[in-house]
Symmetry: C4
Subunit: 306 residues, 4 copies
């Protein structure tokens, strides 16, 4: 008796070569059209950038802002700064340096504003500088402090004989050295098949798991769905499974000690990546002193079932 | 059998032209009398301002504070700063620039305090400046990092034929590109009618929904209340519904990936905005490669039921 | 049938004149002996200070730190700063000003270090200054951003006739202009009485409430415990209630929009503050346009029951 | 009837001298092999350091960064700074001081860049300085604001006669002066024994507690597992208990007022630390005025059962 469930939020309508709505990294794989953006999107965008791109953007912004102010000081007239006038290029570099000394609030004073207008502009530039670094302070903190799950799912989804039946299995490991507290997992199976009218439709099943909740997770966890009579996969042979247009969607949550908060992680597997008659290598190890060992390299290691 | 519920927190007493207690933007629409304010209200006030007004306030504060300190330096005597005395207006501008260079901690030094009193005041001003920018740093971060739901409800609430009965429907879309995790919705109907004593009273009903919880919401969700025999709306014809003094109040919650936190969003519809015999245009689309598409422009598009 | 419950965390042993363990402001009223402190306690201590005391402490710290560094510069020798030596007092003030200009990173440069030692010390002072203001930035943000419930409980706890029985009532109002989302309340009654052995013992009862959970709370909420046969208070006459050594402890929680987080508030009432045959004045009001009104002054207004 | 439970996340396989996977301070005691690190690990690493080490690292970073920039200025040529050239060591110290004045944005100006290259490098250094202090601001705030549970478990786990049976007990006290809100505790017992095949296997039991949830915890809480017939420990005599390869793992959670958040704390006891026929000294005290007293020194005080 396959336990069909209602649409978990994806819609029944499907497509011949429907993709997973979850990208390999766990984020959304949906194309957005006509979406309007706002200022807060900028923040979440800057939060999501890689560190390299982020630092590049900051440096670029610094140079552009200084160039902008340098041009203003040149327009006001280099004689309003306490430096002798020279070639345009020299003046620009002096104005640029003055701007940089102002925006960072270093203000050596070797170059300083002597006129009224340059005085006002440099005050505003210092204000702009402080506001920018306030913003960057928030961004840096936001980038680091955002609670992030940190776990790795095994590359493979495997099917092997298991307790007189078959079992569908994958495993996951904590990438941090903390202990995951009260992790919970929810696995949804979607199968896309042509219905009588010839259209592709999705069916949804909540997969029963050997265990969907543990108290602690210090090392690795192998998730097992037993393909017994109650499983929607029972009617398919291993060969058929490999051809099935099916995906499993995983929603994993736990309390992450590093951020003292509950975090969520999504993941998906496609059935064309399935390995049959394969099992994961045992991950249980103890040191001589009896300490548990988590060998992260074992996560993806599989071997054929004899 | 209409499932009447107890007052969900609004009170039974009503009013002939009672307004929704939720504004169109999801915030409170209640008039507060004799409310005392405190310092923390200032923070939440500054957090709630639009970015334009916020930046205006910061600039204004900067100018006022500098003017205030400039006047103090003039009162101490311009001769305590290392600048030659001139017309009052020149002196004021010099003092203002010195103040701005102090409060931003630029401190070029072209103007600097030479007397004891100006030394002390400028030290205090620098301290005040640092404290202000500390505060602004927090405000900027607070404005950005406050977890905000981001979703749009359809403008219209519609009634159409649905599975041998009628259905009351509205829909919503994620305004971000993240996937909403475990969204839940609660819909309360309030009907205001005169009771026997001639007073306006409210009745409350929790509307049964086709689905009030999904696991993921990557695109759009149409919320359906089936107006079957158990619905409090069953006894009203479509014509009567349009005249009913009724509101529905929506409480929506989900885990927002952008902020790694659970967020809430309130919304309300009034029945005088109801559209009958109207349906929403289908929002399901796939790209050629099978990627799901969310076209945000479709949210509000309706068409008559044939 | 009084529903006695197990100790909710207070212990059965009591005392003749036992005080509430919750202070009037909702914080702990417990005397701690031999408690060890750590660095994090400093942070929570600074977070809990009033704004006046906090700003005083910052100013004091600023003055002390500058005095400390000024004395170091004097010890190094005023000739290592670019200012002519004078009386000790003048030198001290110059050193103090130099220190203030360094710690705030203003650095006008009119006074600057010329020797090696003063150069190193002033570098360290600037570092110390930046660290201090980093810390203050965090403190200011922490003070503002800590999620704080904001509600007021009525001064009085009243008993009045209610639906053929008596009712124990108090009420509460939101002090903010947001709508409280999904507020929940839990009311525990403790009665201290002498047991057979002559010792004071506490009994605990979870009071049944007319409603202990609402969906929204835009205005005021009157909490009602009906003193019917199942109530532990049923056996006491109003006169006896006034003499009872009893307290009620309230644990209130809701989702606070201002901080986008769930907050908790504790409160307690003692029975010697009880008012009998008294009722709260109605708090329900609408403006002409049908807008709900919350008049905060009404919270504490009671009137005798006719 | 011992209530055996499924593996709570540790795996059935055990080891002769298996250690607790929880360190005495409540953190993870697992050896990680082949773990890949990323940038966010740096943040959580810096968050976890002691204050002494943290401040040392900041100072060291400051010195190294300044040395690095000083060497660059020397390479550019000391003549690009407004200081007369001297011995290499003098030049280095001047360059170092200039660097420190730049990185902290003090910028006295007594030394300032006169050449193009030194101008650009010092601008970049000021930028680097501001970024570093932005980062440190976030780190300082992160270190303080991370919600931390603060409670102490009694050193001893004791077994004593209790209500016609025996009881397994330990106690805990709040280390803060706040009231713990809605604390909950979960106690898992693991027993490692040789199975028929001669391998060490773990069994898991969820221990029934006299009370596993209270509403408030202002003082101390003694956790009691009654060793009655349903207990997995019933079949062991006190002597046997002392030799049992057993651990109890504790997961404790509560709402912490200081951080306005739910926090978790793990702890474990090994049975070789067990004390039999021992009880905790009473911790209940009241002041003359009836105020509850929490004497933190009592937590670990035990006495023999008479």
């Amino acid at each position: 008796m396959a336990k069909k469930i209602k649409d978990p939020g994806l819609g029944y309508i499907s497509n011949e070569n429907v993709q997973s709505f979850i990208s390999p990294n766990g984020s959304s794989n949906v194309l957005h059209l006509n979406r309007s953006r706002n200022f807060d999107d900028l923040y979440t965008y800057l939060l999501g950038l890689s560190w390299g791109v982020f630092l590049l953007l900051v440096s670029l912004g610094f140079i552009l802002l200084n160039t902008f102010f340098a041009l203003i000081y040149l327009w006001i007239g280099i004689e309003e700064l306490t430096i002798p006038s020279g070639y345009w290029w020299e003046n620009f570099l002096n104005a640029f340096n003055f701007s940089a000394q102002t925006i960072t609030t270093v203000g050596y004073g070797a170059i300083s504003p002597t006129g009224m207008l340059s005085g006002v502009v440099s005050s505003l530039e210092a204000l702009a500088g402080l506001m920018s670094f306030s913003f960057i302070t928030g961004l840096l903190y936001g980038r680091f402090s955002k609670p992030k799950p940190s776990l790795k799912f095994s590359k493979s989804l495997v099917v092997r004989d298991f307790e007189e039946e078959r079992g569908l299995m994958f495993r996951l490991a904590n990438k941090r050295t903390t202990i995951m507290i009260e992790p919970e997992i929810k696995v949804t199976l979607t199968i896309t098949e042509k219905d009588k009218s010839g259209e592709f439709k999705r069916s949804f099943f909540q997969l029963d798991l050997e265990r969907d909740k543990v108290t602690y997770l210090p090392t690795m966890w192998t998730i097992v769905h037993k393909i017994d009579k109650s499983s929607p996969l029972h009617k398919y042979s291993n060969k058929q499974l490999l051809k099935l247009k099916a995906n499993i969607y995983i929603l994993f949550q736990y309390h992450e000690e590093s951020y003292a908060q509950k975090v969520y992680k999504m993941h998906s597997y496609a059935f064309n990546d399935l390995l049959v008659d394969t099992k994961f290598k045992s991950s249980v190890k103890f040191s001589k002193e009896g300490q548990m060992i988590l060998d992260h390299d074992l996560l993806n290691q599989t071997e054929p079932v004899d």
